[in-house]
């Protein structure tokens, strides 16, 4: 025979279940906007008849269940979609930061502008040279060449400095991102500990897991990761970067950040394996690529700096060679002699770069040091207008094609940026589609939750009615029987 108060127990279990459901529904609704929140569901199951009752019920063939029990509160989440999302997120942020960096690069080297471009400086310089070749005795023409040459070197210097500054920004970003990664790794390890503690009691730490999942999402944006459940405790998650373990249970193996004292370049390593653009992706990979890549494929800032340096060096070498074969124009204070360098370095080093190219001090001092003639004007006194070297200098633009080189650099940059932007658009669409699917599975739908509210409220009312009914019955039994005549 069933226990007297079984009905009350059954009613009570129903009330509890309904109120827990209502609470969870309320929890879901209040977290509708929380980032990374996964909707929760109460899992209930019918309580089986108890062991003793079951034996008796076999005799009596009247076993009843004991109501409803709450077996747990679970999250509705797809691990597979999470994995897809995180992989795609790394691709996406790689593209995002690459485009961002390249867009800055593009604005520094924007040859399309109407004025102030390097092409314009080169073109003005050669115009002044052509004018000089028509009359090398004119001080005005010589001054024009001097001024335009200075403007050219200043343009080179300026672009170089801006590129260096971009490089420096990417370098700093590497440090910032690495620090952020380390901080997230530590948080994940902490959460691992907390979740393991909580779940040792058999429950699921839903909200803590949400927090950890959010961290993993954010981490995947910073750097591409692989992760798996910890082999000894499945409540914990192990994380690897570039195949090397960085979080194992509650232990962390953080990224080591070193900085070179002279170049200020940051280098990252885990367990003495260096992280480079080759083994990481995500924002970190993007910054590495922009800072380090000097090849023509997926070119980064060093590639363009090198191209500019080569152009500056080529111009300097060609002009220096010519100027050294020519003779300067004699003045009251100086004889006509073989010319020196036309361009020199401003920092005393021997290699000319776009950053240190400057007009030779001799020519800055006196425009007559532009060695325009090919004969010593002190001995060949009747050759004041000799402009052989000046003509050769003016012809360098056609023969060496400096403007075409610059066009090629600019075009390559344009193509690189354009293809990066297209790739980014594609990555973005893909990421959004995966995210949509994720949200479809784990997001909170207010309509759905509201319907559930109604459902559980009705359930609660019904169970309350059950309790009331049993109460009345018992009341009748306890207080109403054996009271004949009272």
């Amino acid at each position: 025979m069933a226990s007297t108060f079984l009905g009350l127990e059954i009613g009570k279990s129903g009330l509890t279940a309904a109120s827990v459901n209502l609470n969870i529904t309320g929890h879901n609704i209040s977290n509708v906007d929380t980032a990374g929140y996964t909707r929760q569901r109460v899992s209930t199951s019918a309580l089986e008849p108890s062991g003793m009752n079951y034996v008796i019920s076999q005799i009596n063939s009247s076993s009843t269940g004991q109501g409803v029990e709450i077996t747990g509160i679970q999250q509705i989440r797809s691990d597979y979609l999470d994995l897809q999302y995180r992989n795609q997120n790394s691709e996406y942020t790689y593209g995002e930061y690459t485009v961002q960096g390249l867009t800055y690069l593009e604005s520094v080297m924007n040859e399309l502008e109407d004025s102030g471009t390097l092409s314009e400086a080169i073109s003005d310089f050669f115009t002044s040279l052509n004018t000089l070749a028509g009359d090398t005795t004119s001080q005005e023409y010589r001054m024009a060449v001097q001024q335009k040459a200075l403007a050219l070197t200043e343009s080179f210097n300026d672009v170089y400095e801006q590129l260096q500054s971009l490089w420096s920004d990417q370098n700093t970003a590497i440090n910032t991102v690495a620090t952020e990664i380390n901080s997230k790794l530590e948080s994940i390890a902490e959460l691992n500990g907390a979740i393991a503690d909580y779940e040792s009691s058999g429950e699921t730490a839903n909200d803590l897991r949400d927090e950890r999942n959010l961290l993993l999402d954010e981490l995947s944006g910073l750097v591409d990761i692989t992760y798996s459940d910890n082999s000894s405790n499945s409540s914990m998650v192990d994380v690897q970067i570039a195949g090397i373990s960085v979080v194992s249970g509650e232990e962390t193996n953080l990224i080591v950040i070193d900085q070179d004292a002279t170049t200020e370049e940051y280098s990252l390593s885990i367990d003495s394996t260096e992280l480079t653009a080759d083994n990481v992706s995500g924002a970190l990979g993007a910054h590495f690529n922009l800072r380090d890549n000097d090849t023509a494929v997926d070119s980064g800032i060093p590639y363009y700096i090198n191209q500019l340096n080569e152009l500056a060096a080529a111009i300097a070498e060609d002009f220096n060679t010519l100027n050294q074969t020519g003779y300067t124009y004699p003045t009251d204070s100086a004889d006509s002699e073989l010319g020196g360098d036309f361009f020199e370095t401003s920092d005393g080093t021997s290699t000319i770069t776009a950053g240190n190219i400057t007009l030779a001090a001799d020519i800055v001092d006196s425009v007559y040091n532009i060695a325009a003639s090919d004969a010593d004007l002190d001995t060949s006194t009747t050759e004041s207008g000799n402009a052989v070297i000046a003509s050769q200098m003016a012809a360098l633009l056609d023969s060496e094609g400096y403007d075409s080189t610059l066009t090629a650099i600019a075009t390559q940059l344009g193509v690189t940026v354009e293809s990066a932007e297209t790739a980014l658009d594609n990555d973005q669409s893909l990421l959004e589609s995966i995210d949509t699917q994720r949200t479809s599975v784990s997001g909170v739908s207010i309509d759905e939750e509201t319907t559930n509210l109604i459902k559980y409220q009705q359930a609660y009312n019904a169970c309350a009615r059950v309790v009331t009914t049993i109460d009345e019955m018992l009341d009748k039994l306890i207080n109403g029987t054996g009271q004949v005549g009272l």
Binding site: N110, N386, D398, V417, E432, G443, I454
Partner: protein
Amino acid sequence: MRITNSMMVSSYLTDLNASLNRVSDLQSQVNTSKRISTLSDDPVATAQSLIVRSNLSTLSIYQSNIDTAQSALTTAETSVDSLNDIIQSAYEIAVDANDGTLTQDDLDTFATQIANLRDEVLSIANTTQGTNYIFGGYNVTGTETTTSSNTPPFTVDEDTGLLMYNGLPMYPDAAYTYGVTTVAAAGTAAQEASETISTATTDEDILAGLEDSSAAATAAAEAATKALNAADSLGLSGSNYDALVDAIDAATAAATDATDAVSTSDTTNATTLAAASEDAITAITTALSNLQSEVTTAADANALLLEEEADKTVSVQIGTSQSVDITYAGTEILGTGEDNIYYILDTLYNDLTAGNTDSIASSVTALQSAQSDVLTTETEIGGTINRLDLLDERYTSSELNYTEMKSDVEDADLAEAITNLTMAMTVYEAALAAGSNIIQNSLVDYLN
């Protein structure tokens, strides 16, 4: 598929953002009226645009050089034309003077005119464009010497009287040969004078003979001096040179002695004096002949130097591998050796003042051929000016083409851009309106 509110909101935001991006791009196109403003907007168009800009810049260099050249060439053409006029005038004078019936006074008048024309040639040769000489080759500023602050490319040497071009004598060999020829003629005259004296019957005849002898000796001395000047201009010295100097002195002395005898009407030593003149002239002839080989060698070397000067012209670039000279070498304008215009006029002047009517005919021929040379030069310059005009026109039309190309590639069709912008704004506003309606509703609104 299960739809949640956050999905709807996030997809709404994404679409709005895309729409707003498009509006922003189009707006930037309308503001700048440029279709491409960054390298990545259209890399192919960017490459085309940069190439076109580079071509435009090169064209403008060529056009500016053409302007410089045309200006220089026009001045040159005018000068050469004046040169032609001078030769024409000289030719007419020479033809008139070639009449055997004129007196020495007439010849002197002509001589003065020729001298003026000759000096004008010098002045034209030193024409300047602004401050730069245009017929000096590389010598555009003139040279500074110890005696003057600015020596032009063409000068007449004060000691030798020869025309110098950038320090080189222009016709030393011709001047020397002229001297030799004139001395030979003087020698013949002296011989005739001696014969006159030996066959003379009266004192008057003897004195006339002596005068002729003196004149011959003087003419020989003057002609030999001209040859000596030519040798001087080549920088010669040495024993042969000194021998010539001595021979000239001897001839001058003989001429003086003869003139003295004429003025005192002393006929006693007439034969001796005439013989002395003859001997002096013979000595001169010998000295000249001895010096000839040195003169020839030096003159040949000088000619090579003059040829080198001919290549030294200032030029400007007017096309790929195309250039045009903006100064000329004086050797091309005035000629060298016996074709030299100054030499021809100077020789004519000498012949007129000395009364060498026989040589005037050769001056006439020389002037004719000089005129034809100058006309050729003038035509060449004119032809070059025309070529430059045509080139300039071609470049102007090329410039137009390139500018159009640049505009096609770079500029936005304003009407199209504004239309697209309006459409994009409409789409954006529609999205805003629709979204605001959809997102607000949920089941909560309908529960009571």
